[in-house]
Symmetry: C3
């Protein structure tokens, strides 16, 4: 089972993704792409960890997620938007992330386990003035478009409720 | 009948909510949470009032909406996002609004009349730089998530059309 | 066939609209409302042109789109949000665009050919601080609401997937 769960801030996407993962198997990897750069971020990470129950192994990996995606028995990647942020921070705002995206797509195609991605829907507001924010918005959208065709389930959460796109 | 109508700016959410209210009964309370702080806001309030027809009593209440929600025969709360804004303005951007939210949830659970909430979907753009805006986005999402399980109908409007989430 | 395709940045809306147009007939007009004001915009326009295949005639018209909409055999307008931007740049941020919108609605109603509109969903983020951005958001939403009732199909794209609204 491969699934992409997208949604806005505080829309319940991580909760939905975790419940989906828990329905799929008892040994689960939580692949956290977040880096606790400041106190607010550290708070958010701690809150998310506290929300998860038993049966999870957490791996923190901001960049090289493809090998884990390919080989895990059941992995929840939370989230792709932070992965993109990390890549743009590392390689510069004008970096072409197509190679990294191609590697991820190939890993998903080769994966035999369950793979669940969480991503933030960030493209439905006013186009940002800031160039980095625009590139981030571009790559977030392109990543979702590249992964969607490989997914068994694509869901957007709104108000904690799932809206099935596929 | 309890309903939560969410949607973006100018997506037709208030119009949809008013039509729903008008289908439910002849004596309707319009609970306006807006405070006309400037001319632009005053214009928007006047336009919304002009859009409503007969059969409405308007109550302006920026903060203490729970008692009205609990006891009204038929109330349309427009909108929750302004209520959250008002609470953050009053209590500070780092205020924990969970107590107020719990009171509102309890009022909805106890209400015997029709209750319709309008809220703005504000979490689907780039995460704002501004801390107050991020807290506002958080509380908006958490409020929708807290109310949705109590609703008979949850709808997101896009281009004036309703998308049924529940 | 009249269709309105809305969606966020990089959600696949133009691709969906082009595939729809290609399914409708061999002689197609691409009505580009973009003006290549800077290099980044010129890049985006070139990329979109390269994405289109044979069978398209491109017309660049930033403002007076109604006559083309009314008389074309098959026209794809990409996109309405840039048309609104162009109108606000020309007439000022407080301009009342209702007359131009009425002319467009009348053109759509009179059109005997296929008309497909692409628009950006820009109202689902934090309300912008900037007054021009708010007016842009208002007119974008009002335009979608005015056109939707005339459409055979209204679709929102997310992650490259269509979500049917009508």
């Amino acid at each position: 089972m491969k699934a992409l769960i997208t949604g806005g801030a505080r829309s319940g996407k991580s909760r939905y993704a975790q419940a989906l993962a828990e329905s799929l198997g008892p040994r689960r990897t939580y692949l956290a792409t977040a880096e606790p750069l400041d106190d607010e971020m550290a708070d958010r990470i701690r809150r998310h960890q506290a929300d998860r129950g038993e049966g999870w192994v957490t791996i923190e990996e901001p960049l090289h997620i493809a090998p884990i995606v390919q080989h895990a028995e059941l992995v929840l990647v939370d989230c792709l938007t932070l992965w993109i942020t990390n890549l743009l921070m590392r390689h510069g705002e004008d970096a072409d992330l197509r190679p990294q995206l191609d590697v991820l797509v190939a890993a998903v195609a080769a994966a035999e386990g369950h793979v669940i991605f969480v991503t933030n829907e960030v493209g439905l507001g006013i186009v940002p003035m800031n160039r980095l924010a625009r590139r981030f918005q571009d790559w977030s959208g392109w990543t979702s478009q590249a992964l969607a065709p490989l997914m068994d389930q694509v869901v957007m959460t709104v108000a904690g409720l799932p809206l099935r796109l596929r």
